[in-house]
Amino acid sequence: MSWSLVVALAVGAYLCKLTGLVLIGPRRLPAVVARCLALVPAALITALVVKDTFSTGNDLVLDARAAGVAAAGVAAWRRAPLLVVIAVGAGVTVLVRRVA
């Protein structure tokens, strides 16, 4: 791993954050843009859940994680605290992995 990669990534990543939060963000946005932005967490975080649950690299996989995350989903939907949701997700995944 090269230091140039570390430095370039540091600069690029900060510029990404800066662009949204400081350069464009504070302007008053048209209502339609505001409505779309309100959906960003729902769309992107759900996509993160899907990626972390059903994939390894470029491969779609169905393994113990699916069971764990499904159980965590039930806990989350029933308004369990964050720690409980994480514990259920990790715990069920380990159990299924041991059994399988």
Partner: protein, 238 residues
């Protein structure tokens, strides 16, 4: 705790932030281990976590380098992943209005975790509390974890503790308040499906970015007031 529907106290918000920070710390350990395994030095791993500070980008850069990829390809994939923080910044900006120096610091803390925690809160005050508490907790824990993992090097298997499922579980807990609203639910389903379809056919990082197309479901004006997930916050109200 991370429940947008009911009134959680400031203390509950902070506790949830610390819990999340601790989970991220464990994730940081796996990054540290991975960075050293991919041929990085302990210093490189630590500097990356201090300055880049966005886990998915760091992991993708390290995994490309570890697999023998070039610096350019490692950088490209990692920056594509980092681009979503720009979108998060747009969402967070109205909630984090303030003096420029403060916002320059806040920018470094714009992440999946801080966005999810902040947007899950029902009002502006708790949104700011959640952002800063989560941001600081995650920053400290992520960097401690990275250092620990890089120094330990090997002998830590995240799968043995189900840690690979801990993150999707945590994200799920944070996105659920958004999925309780009809429009949010449609956007979530669309984002998830886009991601799933693209995973086998596009470079790592691209599916998540493309999932943001699902926000276009917000283009039609809502027929009912309750159709848009919470916040007037994004409409320019501080």
């Amino acid at each position: 705790m991370v429940d947008g529907g009911t009134g959680s106290s400031t203390r509950e918000v902070v506790v949830a932030s610390l819990v999340l920070g601790a989970a991220v710390g464990v994730f940081g350990v796996t990054f540290g281990v991975g960075a050293v395994a991919a041929g990085g030095s302990v210093a490189q791993a630590c500097v990356m976590s201090l300055l880049v500070f966005t886990g998915a980008s760091q992991l993708s850069a390290v995994s490309v380098v570890g697999a023998g990829g070039s610096t350019a390809s490692a950088l490209g994939g990692a920056l594509i992943l980092a681009a979503r923080n720009g979108v998060y910044g747009l969402t967070l900006a109205p909630r984090l209005a303030g003096r420029l120096p403060v916002r320059l610091v806040a920018a470094q803390l714009v992440l999946d975790e801080t966005t999810a925690m902040a947007t899950a809160q029902p009002d502006a005050r708790r949104q700011r509390t959640a952002f800063w508490a989560t941001g600081v907790a995650v920053y400290v824990c992520w960097n401690l974890g990275t250092a620990l993992g890089a120094l330990a090097g090997t002998a830590i298997d995240p799968q043995a503790f189900g840690l690979d499922a801990a993150f999707p579980a945590a994200y799920l807990a944070m996105v659920v308040p958004h999925l309780r609203h009809p429009t949010g639910r449609r956007a979530g389903i669309a984002g998830g499906v886009i991601c799933l379809v693209l995973i086998p056919v596009t470079p790592i990082g691209v599916p998540i970015l493309c999932a943001s197309a699902a926000v276009l479901l917000g283009v039609p004006a809502p027929r009912h007031a309750g159709d848009v997930p919470f916040d007037e916050g994004t409409a320019g109200v501080p």
